[in-house]
Symmetry: C2
Subunit: 371 residues, 2 copies
C-alpha cells in the first residue's frame, strides 16, 4: 500500500476518524484507524463497536492495499509534519513508513484483517437536513440526556418524524428538552432512540454549514449519517421511549417574560456561592414587573432583582440553578417566556410556536428555614 496526500487532507480525515476510535479498550485493534486503498479511493475506517466511521481521503493512489495504524500515533505524527505532501507506505513486515520532506517515521502497524468491519446496512430513502440544523438540534437538546448507564434509554435522544416535522427529545428525570423543526419534504413516520454519544461525536465532525446537507438513513437497529465524504453508522438504543406528550402541559397560572441574558447572568452569579458538591436552589420570587432572585449558602447570600413582564399570579419557586442555565444557554432568543403553575409543578420555557420546549422540575425549599 502506498499513498501520497497533502498533510491538511490527512489531518482532516484523521480527525474525523478519531471520533470513533476507542479510548478505553482491551482490544488494541480498536485503537487503530484502518486504511483501505483500492484502485478508486483511499478510505479511513474507525469503529468502537458503538459507532463506526468511514471517510474518503483525497490523495494519490500509488499502490493498493490495507493496513491498520494506531490512531493516536498516526494523528500525532501527521499533526506535527510540515505543511506539504506526505507519503504513507507499508512494507511486507507491516511496518509503515511516513515520509514528508527530509523527515521519515517508521512505525509498526497491524494486519487489517483483524479490524472489525462495519455492519452491512441497506440504505433506502434518506431524511435530508442541513448540517446547520442537525448540529443545532443536537446542541440544543443533548445536555439533558442522562449520563448514567442505569437507564439506557435516558442516555439517548428520541428522533421522531411525523409527516414533515422532526422532533428531538431528551430527558434525564429532572427535565425534558424538546426541539422541533419542519422538514423540506415529508418523510415516513420514524421513532428511534439515538445514543447521545453518537450525537456528541457527530456534532464535532459536522461543519455546521447551512448549505451542506446530511442524509440520514434509518434501519431497525442502526442510524446512518452521510455528509461530505463521511459516513457515520451507529447502533440505535432498543426500547420504547417515554411518553413525553402527556408531560407537556399547556395550562399555567403565571407567565413571565424576561431578558434571557440578564436572567442567565443573574443565575450564574448566584452559583458562585454554591460549591460543586452542594445542592442549593435559587429561589425566584415573581411579583409585578419584577423577579427577585435569592441564593443562600454557607459562603454567603445573594439578592438580586430583574425587570420582567408578568401575567397571572405572583409565585415563589425554587430551581436547581444548573438546569435553568443549561436551557437558557442554548436558547438563541433575546426574550424568553416561562410558564408556571405552582411551586411544585414543572416550569416550561418555550416559544409561541413550541419550536423549543424546556421543562424543568422545581425543587423544594423551605422558605421559613432560610430566615
Amino acid at each position: 500500500m502506498k499513498i501520497v496526500c497533502m498533510k491538511s487532507d490527512l489531518q482532516n480525515s484523521v480527525n474525523i476518524s478519531f471520533r470513533a476510535v476507542s479510548s478505553k479498550t482491551t482490544m488494541p485493534i480498536l485503537e487503530c484507524i484502518e486504511i483501505t486503498v483500492t484502485d478508486n479511493f483511499i478510505k479511513f475506517t474507525s469503529n468502537d463497536m458503538e459507532i463506526g466511521i468511514e471517510t474518503i481521503v483525497k490523495g494519490e493512489i500509488i499502490e493498493t492495499g490495507d493496513v491498520a495504524i494506531n490512531a493516536k500515533l498516526l494523528s500525532d505524527i501527521i499533526r506535527k509534519l510540515p505543511d506539504s505532501e506526505v507519503c504513507i507506505e507499508t512494507d511486507l513486515n507491516y511496518t509503515v513508513t511516513i515520509t514528508s520532506g527530509k523527515s521519515k517515521f517508521s512505525i509498526p502497524a497491524k494486519i487489517s484483517d483483524e479490524f472489525p468491519s462495519l455492519p452491512e446496512v441497506e440504505k433506502t430513502d434518506a431524511l435530508v437536513l442541513s448540517q446547520f440544523s442537525l448540529k443545532e438540534l443536537v446542541r440544543q437538546t443533548v445536555f439533558s440526556i442522562s449520563d448514567s448507564e442505569n437507564n439506557k434509554i435516558m442516555t439517548g435522544e428520541l428522533f421522531e418524524v411525523n409527516d414533515n416535522k422532526l422532533r428531538v427529545v431528551s430527558l434525564d428525570g429532572h427535565r425534558i428538552s424538546v426541539r422541533r423543526i419542519e422538514l423540506k419534504n415529508p418523510f415516513r413516520n420514524i421513532k428511534v432512540i439515538v445514543p447521545g454519544k453518537t450525537l456528541n461525536e457527530i456534532s464535532k465532525i459536522l461543519s455546521g454549514e447551512m448549505d451542506s446537507e446530511v442524509r440520514i438513513y434509518f434501519t431497525d437497529k442502526h442510524i446512518i449519517f452521510e455528509f461530505d465524504d463521511t459516513m457515520v453508522l451507529s447502533r440505535l438504543i432498543e426500547g420504547e421511549y417515554y411518553k413525553v406528550d402527556q408531560m407537556l402541559i399547556r395550562d399555567y397560572e403565571t407567565k413571565v417574560t424576561v431578558n434571557k441574558k440578564e436572567f442567565l447572568d443573574s443565575i450564574d452569579r448566584a452559583t458562585l456561592l454554591v460549591k460543586e458538591s452542594e445542592k442549593k436552589p435559587i429561589i425566584i420570587s415573581i411579583r409585578d414587573n419584577e423577579m427577585g432572585m435569592e441564593m443562600v449558602s454557607n459562603l454567603g447570600s445573594m439578592n438580586e432583582s430583574i425587570d420582567i413582564e408578568k401575567e397571572g399570579s405572583d409565585l415563589m419557586i425554587g430551581f436547581n440553578p444548573k438546569f435553568l442555565m443549561d436551557a437558557l444557554r442554548v436558547i438563541d432568543e433575546e426574550e424568553i417566556s416561562l410558564y408556571m403553575m405552582n411551586p411544585k409543578a414543572p416550569c416550561f420555557i418555550k416559544d409561541k410556536e413550541e419550536s423549543y420546549i424546556y421543562l424543568i422540575l422545581p425543587v423544594n425549599f423551605n422558605s421559613t428555614a432560610r430566615q
Copy 2:
C-alpha cells in the same frame, strides 16, 4: 469601611493580589485579601509568607476602615458582576456587602488584625528596568530552575549586577541558562538568589511594556519590585550560588549554525515517539552541511536531516529532547549556533555577544545498541 470602584479596576487589582494568596494553607487568613482604606488610598494586600503584594486600587473612598475577605470568593463575585460601579461595604459584624446595580452579595469577612503585615523594609536606591526586559529575562531563564525542594538554591535564580550589567542565571544540574542585559545606569554590585516562584508570579503581573518601568530594591533578606501601582516583596534564598563562570567553557571542536524553527520542529516531531515516563535521547549526527536527527523508541523510529553550516569536526551526540526544546523556545533569533566539544561534554547554544548562553549536558547513548 465603604468604597465605590469600577468593576474593571477591582478585577485588575484582585488579579494582581491573587498571585500572593496561599492556595494550600492551614491558616484561612492567608486565603484572604486585606482591604485597607485610609483617607488617601484604597490598598489591597496579600501575603503567602514567601511573597507579599500591595496594590493601590482606583476608587472613591466613602468610609475608611479595613477588612480581610476570602480572595477566591471576592474574585469570583467581582468577575461575574456587570461592567459598572461596585460598592464594597462592611458592617459592625464583619459582614461585607458587595452591591452592583440590583445585585447584592453578603459574605462573611475577617478582622484584618489577624492578617500578617508585610515586613517593613527600607528602600534605598533602585535598579531600574523596563517591564519588558524583566519579563523577558524571567521567561528566558526560569524554565531551568529545579522544582525539587531538595536543593533550595536551585529553585531560585541568580540576579547579579556588575557595573552596568545585569546577569540572570538558573540551573538544575542538567543545564544552565544565562541571560545578560546592559543597564542604562551603573548600579552597585549585587549577587542575590531570587525564588523562582516569585519570578513566575511577577511575570504574570508585569504588563511587559517597553515604556513602563520596574524599580527593584535589594536588602539583605528581601527583594522588592515596584511597578505601576503595585509593590511585590519577596524573601531571598539564603546561601552561596554556584560558581557558574568556571562551567562556561569557550573552547569547542564543532560549531553548528542552524535555523532555529527547523531544529525545534524536528525535535518536537521526534518526541512524539517518547512517552512521558520514558527517557529517550535524540541522537544528532553532525556532518558537513547536514545534521541527522534520530529517535528510536518502542513506538517506532524517526529519521530526519536538516541543513546546517558546520565548522570543525563531525560529531554524534545525544540529548534529552526536552532540554533542547526548552532553550530553543525562548530564543528569539532565527538562526542559532551550537558549540560542542565531544559527546560527553556540554553543548552551548549562545550568540556572539553572549547575551544568552544555554548550557545543556548531553546524555549517553549506545550507538551499537540502536541497530
